[in-house]
Subunit: 468 residues, 2 copies
Amino acid sequence: MLMIRSLLTAVAASALLVGAAQAQDVKIAEALRDKALTDRLAWDITEDLTTNIGPRLVGSPGMERAKDWGVARFKALGFTNIKVDQFAKPSWTRGEESAELVAPYPMKLSIVGLGRTIPTPAEGVEAEVALFTTYAEMVAAPASAIKGKIVVITQPMVRAQDGAGYGVAGISRRAGPVEAAKRGAVALLIRSVSTSSSTVPHTGVTTNGADVVTIPAAALGVPEAEQLERLAKKGPLRIKLKLASSLDAGDVAWNISADIKGSEKPDEVIVIGGHLDSWDVGTGAFDDAAGIAITTAAAKLIGELPKHPKRTIRVVMWGSEESGGSSDAFLAANKSNLEKLVLAGESDTGADRIYSLQLPRGSEGHPAMKAAIRTLSPLKIYFDRNPAAHGGADIGGIEGAGVPVVNLNQDASRYFDYHHTADDTLDKVDPIQLAQNVAAWTSFIYLVADSDIDFRALSAAAPAQAGH
Amino acid sequence: MLMIRSLLTAVAASALLVGAAQAQDVKIAEALRDKALTDRLAWDITEDLTTNIGPRLVGSPGMERAKDWGVARFKALGFTNIKVDQFAKPSWTRGEESAELVAPYPMKLSIVGLGRTIPTPAEGVEAEVALFTTYAEMVAAPASAIKGKIVVITQPMVRAQDGAGYGVAGISRRAGPVEAAKRGAVALLIRSVSTSSSTVPHTGVTTNGADVVTIPAAALGVPEAEQLERLAKKGPLRIKLKLASSLDAGDVAWNISADIKGSEKPDEVIVIGGHLDSWDVGTGAFDDAAGIAITTAAAKLIGELPKHPKRTIRVVMWGSEESGGSSDAFLAANKSNLEKLVLAGESDTGADRIYSLQLPRGSEGHPAMKAAIRTLSPLKIYFDRNPAAHGGADIGGIEGAGVPVVNLNQDASRYFDYHHTADDTLDKVDPIQLAQNVAAWTSFIYLVADSDIDFRALSAAAPAQAGH
């Protein structure tokens, strides 16, 4: 009896201690959140990177300067364990580009070559147009309707808070060139994968797989795509397209990382970050200077605490998101210690406010996550019961290898108006919404870092069907 | 007594007749207004002109096709007295244009040459930048700060419903090149005279007077102007600018007009219209296919009445608004019969809704104008007591020669986001607001055309200080 009573007392005392620690953590998380709402660091980083470095295409002098900038920023902010992991990355450089409607009358067309497109011959390609209003229509068409022609696909993109329209419309860009080439097209023009009505065209890589693109491919401004759609109803069209570009097979890129070292379990690591590279058009403010700024500022705020949380917070400035490669490189560099990566998260949907939180499967009942849900609620962030699944960006590699991920979902309503365009510039960033992002990341990550939560164990113990 | 009684009876009978005619006119005006709200003609004209003709710069093949289009449209719609008045108009043609930041780092800059700018040498102009955040600052600067430099003026434009920000910010474009040249600048770049945050730059003529521009001048995209402003705070900038263009001194333009002939006083004429020419960028949907469409559709609806109104309605498709000249040409062609022009109005602020009516001074008490104010009210158009004053556009010439003018003021809140840019395209036109414009013009013009109102006499009789 005495032994049992003693045991119960010990358990109760331990629970009280855990409860007290938990309450203290929540107070710190709330204080971090509220401080972040008026902190200027994320704005300063976004302004600095977009203004003083500018465009940061992989392989460009801008990206090389960005690498040095990243290291210097981490140092100046007091991060430790700063690493620059170099990896091989063929780089693609855009040359002069132009397109014009030749018939029924001459008119310049606003275009941008898709990333990694092959160039046209120097004199350009001129051909009759085969216009399709959807990608599916193009795939279903007989090759005779396409052979020798410039294929134009005018599939529009749906505006959605979660950006779901991107995957649907993006098929024109990802698979369009390969499928049009198979059918004998001499070039492909797609309506920009965009929610705007702007003439500013959107670039982006042409393939997401091993297929080799063998025809020149570019994106049209939205008004131009609609104009061609209207004109095609009235008669045949001819277009002349010129694209120049070059590939450097021997180029390199870098993932840069740095730590806020854990005070008790420094080898347990939470990985957060954004990507440092950008497209060559615009200055990559939404995509993704903001993500670099948000996660760096969040970690820095935690690093300013009198005592660091138990676990290490590692910020990664990913080096080749737009052209692919940083995910695999990070996985290769970390394959021996993947089980020490507690959680990974990336901020890469611009700078507008976070509206929902998705957690690793089965973790929402843990006290640290219950505290996180409550702490984010005043920021107008709701808990979405669908488990987090990040997908194909920089953390896709380690996610595929079993590292749990978190989604702090940003409102993407405006994101695809600007993304991958010359209009992705600092003026589009709203400092108030940017600060809300920092507030969410800093408080959430602190609660994970100062807890013992084991997302893998919780996921393994959870029923197979989670969410709704 | 008898005689007096008879006279009084006659006066009363006459007043009754006038009242009955007036009531009948109001009924017709209301019916025209309501029919216009669901009429498709203005949309069809806007779609046709922007899609099938495209850009219409003075001197371009597009403008020549637009002339033929205009004549054919007037014929097909049953207008009579179709006239093509040719006038001499030197034409300016844009060539290849580019600009890049050279230092502190290389970056392409989105620019568009200002209308009638001189070209740079073929190899371009490269120089250090002298940046001013306002035009006034540039004018106040010592010549030593400007000599040999590329002047950049980043003065922003204020968004205003009545477009008042245009006149203020437009000074950079109108007077900037001449004043910068006087101070020894080698070129001028201005922040686009724009309310948007788009990288798409805005063109427009460089001078409004007799001054000769002797340096190349172009407009920057708004984000680029803001980027230069931030960078200039941190150190010196260098820019390289290339502009090509040519002038054809022997070119011509055309004002095209056509009538809905008056049934009783056909020689009394109300002149309305929009301008057929556009800039070479975009397809001139807001500026000013919409104005052509609104006024043509309004006149056509009146022409479909079983009986035409008393006076003639003349629709003018002005031939050179953007580059100037149509106003003087019309004045020269009409100088012998100016007193027969009852009233003139132009629709040239896009396609968004009309929100206010301004009348010739002293006319608001006339029964026809009281009826007009009431008829427009359900369209959410208020009567602005400030007398109408159109200013410098196509009807400026005849206005200056004493022809009364009316303003049906369009909401310009969005107009300067798109005007003079590649984004001035059909997709920006809202068919519902376009129809509201037609409803206002058709009902207002009908009431003037079927009345005997003499605006000149009313103005002469009015107190000198009208309005507030």
